[in-house]
Symmetry: C2
Subunit: 199 residues, 2 copies
DNA sequence: CCGTCAACTTACCAACTAGTAGGTGACTTG
DNA sequence: CAAGTCACCTACTAGTTGGTAAGTTGACGG
C-alpha cells in the first residue's frame, strides 16, 4: 500500500477535494434559492475560501451551473439504475421514483433542475441544454417503466407512455414546488400517491 | 360632459397611469425571469422613467411584489368567476381553467405565483403570504368544481377533492414550467388534457 | 397669483455582482 | 536543485443592486 496512483492528492492540507465541496454548497443554494438567488460570495463564505479561489475551479457561474447539473444528473441516473436492479414491479418502481423527490423535499430542497427550469430564461445555453437533457433522461426512464408495467398488466393507463411520463415528471416537480411553499411534505406525498394510484 | 370626477388625472402629459404600466412591465419580468431575475433598472429602462420614480410608486421591491400578486390574483379570480357564470359542466370548467394557463404560456410567460413559488425562500413575508393565498383560492375554486362534478356524475375520481385540487394546481404549474423549457405549448396541452380526462 | 401637492427628476449611496491580474508557498518532477 | 505546477491568496475592476435626499415641474383650488 505505497503510492497508489488512484489515491493521490490526499495531501497534508486536509483539503477534502475543494471542487466537490464547492459543488455541494452551490447545489444546496440553487436547490433552495434558485440560480439567481445566490452569489460566489455566498459559497466562499460557507467554505472559508475566497471568491478568486472559486473562480479558479469554476471560471464562470455558467460553468458552475453546467457542472452542477452534470453531477446531479449522474447521481439521479444512478438512483434510477438502482431501482431497476431491485427488480420490483412497475408500480413499486414509480413509488421509489417519487420517494427520491420526498427525500429532497425533506432536506428542505427542491429538485435542482426544477429550480433551473424556472430560472430558464436567464440561463446560458449550455445550462439550458443540461436542464432539458435531465428531464429527457427522466422521461425516458419513466417510459421504460410504464411500458413494462403495461405489458405485465401491473399498470393501466390511457394514452401514450411519453405523455404519461411527461405528466408524472411535471406533476411531481410542480407538487414539490407548492409543498415547499406550504412547508408541508405530506401534501407532496398525498399528491404523489394519488398520481401513481391512478395508473 | 364637463369635469367628471371619475375621469380625472387624464392630463396633458399623456401619462396613462404610471403605476399600472409599472405593474405591467414588472409582471412580465417576473413571469419570464423570476423575482430575482430583474431589477428596478430594467423596468425604468422599458418605461423611460428613472429608478427613483419607480421607488416613488413602489417604495421597495417587496411592496412591488405584493402589489403584483394582489392584481394578478384579482384578475385570475375574475376569470374563475367568469367560468362559473357560463354554467357549463364541471369538466368543461376544468378545461377552461387549463385554458387560462395555455394563454399565459402562449405569451411566453409562466404563472406569476408559480415563479414566485420557486423563488419562495428569498421572498419577504408579505410576498410569501400572497403566494400561498393565491394557491389557496385556486384550490378552493377547484374543490367547488370537483364537488359539483362528482355530485352531477360528470366527474369520477377517488380520494378527497382537496387532494385532487392540489394535484391539478401542482401538475399544471409543473407542466407549464417544463413546457416552457422545451418551448412547446402542445406538450402542456397534452398533459392538461390527460389530467382532466382521467377524472 | 399664491400655496399646495402629486409626480416626477438629478445626483447620490453603500453594498454587492461576476470576474481578473498577479502573486505566494507547498509540493512534484526532471 | 531548478523549473514547473497546483491551489490558493490579496487586491482590484467595472458595472449593478435596491434605496434615498433634495430638488423641479406643472396643474389645480382658493
Amino acid at each position: 500500500m505505497g503510492s497508489n496512483a488512484a489515491m493521490a492528492r490526499t495531501s497534508a492540507t486536509a483539503t477534502a477535494d475543494t471542487p466537490q465541496r464547492v459543488l455541494d454548497v452551490a447545489e444546496r443554494l440553487v436547490q433552495t434559492r434558485g440560480f439567481n438567488g445566490f452569489s460566489y460570495a455566498d459559497i466562499a463564505e460557507v467554505l472559508g475560501i475566497t471568491k478568486a479561489s472559486l473562480h479558479y475551479h469554476f471560471p464562470t457561474k455558467a460553468e458552475l451551473g453546467r457542472r452542477l447539473i452534470e453531477r446531479y444528473e449522474s447521481r439521479v441516473l444512478e438512483a434510477l439504475a438502482a431501482i431497476d436492479r431491485a427488480e420490483v414491479d412497475a408500480r413499486e418502481k414509480l413509488r421509489r421514483y417519487a420517494a427520491i423527490y420526498v427525500e429532497v423535499l425533506r432536506a428542505n430542497r427542491m429538485c435542482l433542475c426544477g429550480m433551473l427550469a424556472s430560472d430558464y430564461a436567464t440561463l446560458a445555453k449550455p445550462v439550458k441544454d443540461g436542464v432539458k437533457r435531465f428531464f429527457d433522461r427522466n422521461e425516458a426512464w419513466l417510459v421504460g417503466v410504464l411500458d413494462a408495467g403495461r405489458k405485465a398488466r401491473t399498470l393501466r393507463f390511457s394514452g401514450a407512455p411519453a405523455v404519461v411520463a411527461q405528466t408524472l415528471v411535471g406533476s411531481l416537480e410542480g407538487a414539490m414546488m407548492l409543498a415547499r411553499s406550504y412547508g408541508d411534505v405530506a401534501r407532496f406525498e398525498a399528491v404523489a400517491e394519488r398520481l401513481i394510484a391512478e395508473l
